[in-house]
């Protein structure tokens, strides 16, 4: 009985996003830019621009594991393994934020939250259903974006350079640990903020604070300052997962019917 109730809340929340064309578009536009547009630009420009001797010298300083059969391929592999994953920190944050803002603040704004609270589920169960709905959508968007990007990259690299790319281990860590963890963090932050936020926009703004550090990290990666090894990445992932877990538990404690409806 409870399972049916929780399942239908999740379904309703996800449907609430997919039937809203504006929200649905905003969820997909950024991932498409990140996973199709940017990588394609990289691949084509690397293919067109003649090799710069300075750059080749720079590449030679990287570990042998990164060296590929051609300079072009090495550069693409470098971008694919060290720059593109950063987009996959932003995609789950954006999706989770849009979804969570609509599922919590949006329901409050439209005065449907109170009706939902009158169902025979406990506050905790309703909360879990809603967090899970945001999390599932966020992971679906992230994983499918990843697949799309992989296909686009492989096809382009294959036709332009006649070879295939092998994604590094870092992808595994990013997609299976870091992305889920930070989408949970984004969701809980939005939910915590939703007690105060009076509008969906206001709630989404609080998520911006999450995106900024990641952009900084991105810039760091790009200039080669922050060159994280897989172990560091794994450590970071575990840290994020821990933080997500603690935040989730804390935010749950915070809630009463009264606070939610205020």
């Amino acid at each position: 009985m409870k399972r049916l109730a929780i399942y239908s809340i999740i379904r309703k929340d996800i449907r609430g996003i997919t039937v809203n064309t504006r929200l649905f578009a905003s969820i997909w536009i950024v991932p498409i830019i990140f996973t199709v547009f940017f990588p394609s630009i990289f691949v084509f420009s690397i293919h067109m621009v003649p090799d710069d001797p300075d750059f080749i010298k720079l590449l030679e300083q990287f570990p042998a594991s990164l060296q590929m059969e051609s300079t072009d391929l090495s550069i693409i592999a470098l971008i694919a393994n060290y720059i593109l994953p950063v987009f996959f920190l932003m995609i789950p944050i954006m999706t989770a934020s849009i979804m969570a803002a609509s599922a919590f603040v949006g329901e409050k704004e439209r005065r449907t939250l109170e009706t939902l609270l009158y169902c025979p589920l406990t506050l905790k169960e309703i909360f879990h259903a809603k967090v899970l709905a945001s999390f599932l959508l966020s992971m679906f968007v992230s994983l499918s974006s990843f697949l799309v990007m992989l296909i686009v990259l492989e096809v382009e690299v294959f036709f332009l350079m006649g070879s295939l790319l092998v994604p590094g281990i870092s992808w595994l860590i990013v997609m299976l640990l870091i992305a889920p963890a930070i989408s949970l963090i984004a969701i809980t932050l939005i939910v915590l903020g939703s007690a105060k936020a009076k509008s969906v926009e206001e709630a989404q703004q609080s998520a911006v604070f999450l995106v900024i550090p990641i952009i900084l990290l991105f810039v760091g990666q790009f200039s080669g300052v922050l060159f994280l090894g897989n172990w560091v990445l794994l450590g970071l992932g575990i840290l994020c997962a821990g933080a997500a877990f603690v935040l989730l538990l804390q935010s749950m404690k915070h809630f009463t019917y009264e606070k939610l409806l205020k």
Binding site: L4, A5, Y7, K12, T115, C119, P120, L121, L123
Partner: protein, 303 residues
């Protein structure tokens, strides 16, 4: 079992506003209780305390022996709740909305469909069942809210201003449905409204609230006898009768107050003997509004 028991319930908001002061009352199953009072009297606050949305400052309340504080979800399982702020989804149709709320109560699809169709028919919404709620009028929304509150066959209905924003015709319809529900399905109804005139036609018992305080409870007859010592006899005649305590109230109407019906035959005989032409004789009983104003006036005078 009592549907509701409230003992010394008080709620003071963070702002310092004492919205409910030391409220005690009880409600039997099958009763339609009219919880009446002007805006700001504390009605909504009481409903929120009974449904577990608010925490009382002191005192206790129980709904079918469940504590809304610790087991709100179990209170919700036996309650149908309609409040002004409990809206449904605009992007879903009437049917989809009902199906969704049914599923949150653990009702499976086929049963939910049957139940929704019955309720939609009962509330005259069958023609609109596949329309999105965005296109619904206030009256239709209100009726759908009632249908939604009944989807899980609750034992008690909390209705907070169910007719606010409705025209008299729609309000009448909603009230007829409430009365029918109570008599046919034996549901207890806790009806909050500031429209005393409407409430008089619906409820079996009343509680009058003013500024967080429960002034009085009882049936209409009980309230009448406890508030007014008598009734008003009103006649339409061609002239003011002499020597009798009638006062003119315009348009050939004259009134006097009497202690009981037994006084009427003698009065009429005297009038006829005087040669007064009588066109109409009626006994006016005080309405809920009369009672309410008499009580609040007493309050301000007496205390």
């Amino acid at each position: 079992m009592q549907a509701i028991t409230i003992q010394n319930l008080s709620k003071t908001y963070e702002t310092g506003k004492e919205a409910v002061k030391n409220l005690s009352l009880s409600l039997e199953a099958g009763e339609v209780f009219g919880f009446l009072g002007p805006n700001g009297a504390g009605k909504t606050t009481t409903v929120k305390l009974l449904t577990g949305i608010l925490t009382p400052t002191s005192g206790t309340c129980r709904v079918f022996d469940l504590d809304p504080q610790t087991e709100a979800n179990r209170v919700h399982a036996v309650s149908g709740i309609v409040t002004e702020h409990a809206q449904m989804y605009d992007h879903l149709t009437a049917m989809e909305n009902l199906m969704f709320y049914a599923s949150t109560f653990g009702i499976n699809r086929s049963e939910a469909k049957k139940r929704s169709e019955t309720l939609l028919a009962e509330f005259e919404l069958t023609d609109a069942k596949d329309q999105k709620l965005a296109s619904f009028s206030t009256g239709m929304r209100q009726r759908l809210s009632l249908a939604r509150a009944l989807i899980h066959r609750p034992s008690i209905l909390f209705l907070d201003e169910p007719t606010s924003g409705l025209d008299p015709e729609n309000a009448q319809r909603v009230h007829q449905m409430i009365r029918k529900l109570a008599s046919e399905e034996h549901i207890a109804v806790f009806l909050c409204t500031h429209q005393l005139r409407y409430a008089q036609e619906v409820c079996t018992r009343y509680g009058l609230m003013d500024e967080g305080t429960l002034l009085v409870t009882g049936t209409l007859e009980e309230l009448r006898t406890s508030t007014f010592s008598g009734q008003t006899l009103s006649i339409r005649a061609d002239r003011l009768p002499a020597g009798l305590p009638f006062v003119s109230c315009g348009d050939s109407f004259y009134t006097t107050s009497i202690r009981s019906e037994q006084e009427i035959p003698d009065l009429i005989r005297t009038l006829v003997a005087q040669g007064v032409n009588l066109y109409e004789v009626s006994v006016k009983k005080p309405s809920l509004e009369d009672i309410y104003f008499a009580l609040t006036a007493k309050q301000t005078e007496g205390f």
